[in-house]
Symmetry: C2
Subunit: 209 residues, 2 copies
DNA sequence: ATAAGTTTGTTAAAAATTTGAAAAAGTTAG
DNA sequence: CTAACTTTTTCAAATTTTTAACAAACTTAT
């Protein structure tokens, strides 16, 4: 069950499995076969079976998969029950929307602080958390030891803040800035979102239908 | 120069090339080799050359690539100078942030309407556009013929609205809802964003460092 | 003008991913 | 309990993607 040897392609599909299994579970369905999942999700049944088997034999021949059990297993693999202490940097339009809109708690994170360089925002509540001035970040991190940071800041500041946060012990970055975070440390995980890349991909497709 | 035979992997890298070339261009650099790009971007030089050659020989032996020309060519391929008329559905936290934060105009889109089912929001301005009540969507589409829709709505409504918009002639969807849009029509392009999937992928990585 | 040095375009090899298919295991009905 | 059926597991083949290597083409300096 070594996790290092599971390919990134597989890992990136796990949240989708989790999402669909959640739906199925809420619909009250108790068992599901790879064939049924295949129809619903648009992956081949073979791929689904192969993916799941990277983490263990969750299914049973002649029966399929128990929805609830499989949902829980994937949840465990993804770590959705962890409570990784998380700070959000940048409380502009996007930062506030991300803070308010994402269910961090259902996905393995615990949002404990929101920071912005704009004094005017200080004290304003977002999701019951006060926006703090960025100058307090250092002390806050020393006192609370967050392990994850969400970056909703302009690309200019991204590199600098990232380096500082790494020094302060942050191990994971969810990056919405235009800048491509590429940390040298192998002990740091980065997920670059790049909404504009996604939008341009759509532009390509729309113009080449 | 048939575009149908370029793989999705390549296409998804194009916005990244565009982004880095933009940076290099703004820095005043006029020529660049695949080797230099490789260092900056983290792709292999071989891959960069191979990717670019899918669309034509933009480089010159012994010289490399002209930054401005390559930037323009990729821009054309991505269609960033198009003005695809675009409506945004759902003016909640996320919808408003997307409307305000994304530079649609620099990426091939022209945002012409914002809609929400919440009466209370009607009339409020976002980016100089008034939020309109969703009931007016049909007429608005008939009058203005948008070809792209950005969906920032709950998954429950996503399928229904998508189907209606397809009937009204929308050819491209940028989907932020939890729901996986899968349109049967081969003439419709969909880009599913799924921020929560990205967040859970980060959760996995953080928990498996 | 020539030679040395770069760098692309292109072809081929390697690696990774996806798909298919058979064997093993379990379920369900009689 | 047995036989027919379903579905996973596992292994192998096919496809796709990435990397490497080399010849052709251009630049630059002498």
């Amino acid at each position: 069950m070594a996790k290092g040897d599971v390919s990134l392609s597989v890992i990136k599909r796990l949240p989708r499995y989790y999402r669909f299994l959640g739906e199925i579970k809420r619909a009250g369905i108790q068992r599901v076969s790879s064939g049924e999942l295949s129809k619903k999700m648009g992956f081949t049944a073979s791929q689904i079976r192969q993916d799941l088997n990277c983490f263990g034999g969750f299914g049973q021949q002649g029966y399929g998969y128990n929805v609830e059990q499989l949902y829980d297993e994937i949840g465990k693999i993804l770590g959705v029950h962890q409570k990784a202490k998380t700070v959000l940097i940048g409380a502009g339009n996007l930062g506030r929307a991300v803070a308010a809109h994402m269910s961090f708690e259902e996905r393995g994170f615990n949002l404990i602080g929101i920071f912005d360089k704009n004094e005017a925002l200080a004290g304003q509540l977002v999701r019951n958390l006060p926006i703090r001035h960025i100058d307090g970040l250092y002390d806050f991190c020393r006192d609370n030891s967050p392990t994850v940071a969400v970056l909703c800041i302009p690309s200019e500041s991204a590199k600098e803040i990232t380096d500082e946060l790494v020094k302060l012990g942050v191990k994971g970055f969810w990056n919405f800035s235009h800048y491509d975070i590429a940390v040298n440390h192998p002990e740091v995980a980065v997920e670059n979102v790049h909404l504009s890349d996604s939008l341009m991909t759509l532009s390509f497709h729309v113009n080449n239908l």
